[in-house]
């Protein structure tokens, strides 16, 4: 099964090569080919995941392999949808790079211990893990759109629309998707914190203890809550909101990888 997931990764790496060529050579033909390779990769990944799930006859999300593979697939689906609905041209390289990272992590990270449904508080733990990985995927979309927004904004401000950024969707479209990713990711992250607290209560009899990971998680949640709230109340739109959320995303990914370690 590992080999099948490796072949999925190879497809995405080939797509990455085409998107890199698109940036270097500047011909749209390369991104068109890259997109088709991604489509094939997505179908293959779905088939491999379904076979994997059928083979293990157990719930998904409890190993790094399937959790990261699902996160990658979710990101692929979002990317394909955006390409068809929002003409998300020029963004392929950003998405495919993140997809590659997720696939590589799924194949390289070793699970420190196995999780079975007989564990006390398994329900909380399962939804905690699922929410974390899904929010990781959604926040990644926010990260990509934030970077694209800043690149396009810089070019519009400096009055030089050139290269890849000139092909991006509009600032308004990027901001809207970024905001949706932030809001939806925040809901999932809230779910992750609540179910994590529930699991902690069962295991340690405390909802929260002095674990820096837990404290940092709550602080990150508060940070995103402030950004979302001030967006409505104080008009933290555009540049300011994007910069702040970008800081939040970076902090969150750092936290996530501390969690893994």
């Amino acid at each position: 099964m590992q080999t099948a997931f490796v072949s999925v990764l190879i497809f995405y790496l080939i797509a990455t090569v085409f998107y890199v060529l698109r940036v270097i050579v500047g011909r749209p033909l390369f991104s068109a080919i890259g997109f088709r390779v991604i489509l094939v990769g997505a179908v293959l990944q779905l088939a491999v995941l379904a076979t994997h799930w059928y083979g293990i006859q157990a719930v998904l999300f409890v190993t790094y392999l399937d959790a990261f593979q699902i996160s990658a697939l979710l990101l692929v689906v979002v990317f394909i949808t955006l390409c068809f609905t929002q003409k998300f041209y020029g963004s392929g390289l950003f998405f495919v790079t993140l997809i590659d990272v997720f696939c590589i992590l799924s194949l390289t990270l070793q699970n420190p211990y196995s999780i079975t449904s007989t564990l006390p508080g398994f329900g909380f733990l399962y939804f905690h893990l699922a929410s974390i990985f899904l929010s990781l995927s959604v926040f990644s979309l926010g990260l990509v759109t934030a970077l694209m927004y800043l690149m396009l904004e810089y070019q519009l401000k400096s009055k030089k629309l050139i290269g890849l950024a000139a092909k991006f969707p509009s600032l308004a479209a990027l901001e809207e998707i970024h905001h949706k990713a932030l809001s939806f990711g925040f809901i999932l992250f809230s779910g992750a914190i609540l179910t994590g607290a529930g699991y902690s209560k069962i295991r340690t009899h405390h909802y929260i203890d002095e674990d820096p990971k837990q404290i940092l998680s709550v602080l990150s949640w508060l940070f995103f809550a402030v950004i979302l709230n001030f967006r409505v109340r104080r008009g933290w739109l555009g540049h300011k909101a994007v910069i702040l959320s970008l800081m939040g995303f970076v902090g969150l990914f750092f936290l996530f990888f501390i969690g893994i370690k």
């Binding site: 068109a32 009055k159 600032l171 308004a172 479209a173 104080r234 008009g235 739109l237 555009g238």
Partner: protein
């Protein structure tokens, strides 16, 4: 067989003449039938758009072009003694092929790169097919033209770029706000350039443009021309908090457009994005306003620079597109069933068949008392011998396909004296 094209377009004929050939499906069908009624014409298609009317035919000989022009463009006078034929262009062979490829790829359009033309070429093709006016030649030509159009669209960005200050403003608005729909435009000043840009941005929607000018007369004149609604100069600060796009075109700077005013305005707008187009000379809005968050300030030079960059880019794409067309025209002829080895094969087969028939006839005349079955047996036997002899040379030639070398073909023809035929 020769491709023949006769037609007129926006370059060769004024609108008054083109109007005479304003096409409807019925008129197209009529023209098509007239072309097909000519003995010389084997296949035909009529391509008509608001900027062109062209008839593509396949004729046996190029000199039959005149018949096509006479018959199809029967309205030979456009009034005032002007002859329609003065506005016609006629192209044959690879020139006609190249022209269709250019048309389908939108290189020959009024607005280079516009997408509508591909659909119109498809419609012309489908319509001719419906009338059973297509044979293998035009079928192949139109399929190839649509393929070339697709290839150029994929490999170049011919349709992109801006051609005027107005379209540069539209392009920037789309890059900032995604769409022109529901965007409020505030025009400060009633100059000609401001009007042009505001008209481009209003996208024909009513009630979208507010006009403010210190002298009401000019603003009212613009309102009467249907551009937008006139508002009082005193309303300017209030209008600036609601507008998405502000176009300033005043002959001098005013306090309402100073940086401090914009800071207040952005605060009141809750930082909603503001696109300012400063067309005034001297500039009406201080450049320092551009550093404010969510404010995008462009002056007339910035817009002109975008137009110039777009022009350069379009020229580059046009060169690439033309190279693709040249390459595809060459391939079109190289892979044609009528070029390469196919005609030589057909000539050889015909020559051998003639020899066979004459020899069979001569032999049979000498042999008396043969039954019909015997005659048929002899005929079949000679056919089989000829078939066996021809099999290898034909397979060799077919195997070489379009890549058959001219020297090789020449030797082949000399060997069988094929050039002496017909």
């Amino acid at each position: 067989m020769n491709y023949v094209l006769a037609g007129m377009n926006h370059r060769t004929a004024p609108i008054g003449v083109r109007e005479k050939f304003t096409q409807t499906a019925q008129v197209d069908r009529h023209m098509l039938k007239k072309a097909l009624s000519l003995e010389a014409v084997r296949e035909a298609t009529v391509l008509s758009t608001c900027n062109r009317v062209e008839v593509y035919c396949v004729c046996e000989h190029p000199h039959q072009v005149t018949d096509v022009v006479n018959e199809v463009f029967e309205k030979s006078t456009a009034g005032d003694g002007v002859n329609v034929r003065d506005f016609l262009y006629v192209k044959t062979g690879d020139e006609a092929v190249k022209h269709l490829f250019r048309v389908a790829a939108s290189l020959d359009a009024l607005v280079v790169g516009e997408n509508q033309i591909v659909g119109q070429v498809k419609d012309a093709f489908e319509s001719a097919r419906g009338e059973q006016a297509l044979g293998q030649h035009l079928n192949r030509l139109f399929h190839k033209a649509l393929y070339v159009a697709k290839r150029i669209k994929t490999e170049t960005e011919i349709g992109r770029g801006t051609v005027s200050v107005g379209s540069a403003a539209v392009m920037l608005t789309r890059k900032i706000f995604d769409t022109l729909k529901d965007r409020d435009v505030l025009l400060v000043g009633a100059g000609e350039m401001g009007e042009t840009v505001a008209r481009s941005l209003s996208d024909g929607e009513e009630g979208r443009v507010h006009i403010v000018n210190r002298t009401a007369d000019k603003a009212l004149a613009l309102e009467q021309s249907g551009l937008g609604t006139t508002r009082l100069w005193q309303d300017l600060p209030c209008l600036m908090t609601t507008a998405d796009i502000v176009i300033t075109a005043l002959s001098e700077s005013v306090p309402e457009l100073h940086q401090e005013s914009f800071k207040t305005i952005m605060h009141q707008r809750k930082n909603r994005t503001l696109f300012i187009i400063d067309l005034g000379v001297p500039r009406n809005v201080p450049p320092s306003v551009a550093i404010l968050d969510n404010v995008y300030l462009y002056n007339v030079d910035d817009l002109k620079n975008i137009v110039e960059e777009g022009k350069w880019e379009r020229d580059q794409h046009r060169v690439t597109a033309q190279n693709i067309i040249d390459e595809e025209v060459r391939l079109f002829y190289e892979t044609s069933p009528e070029t390469g080895a196919m005609p030589a094969i057909a000539s050889l087969a015909q020559k051998i068949e003639d020899v066979r028939q004459s020899e069979v006839k001569r032999t049979l005349s000498r042999l008396k008392g043969l039954s019909d079955e015997d005659i048929q047996a002899i005929d079949k036997m000679t056919q089989a011998i000829v078939g066996q002899i021809l099999k290898d040379p034909i397979l060799t030639l077919k195997g070489k396909g379009a890549q058959v070398e001219k020297g090789f073909l020449s030797v082949f023809k000399q060997l069988f004296r094929l050039d002496d035929e017909g």
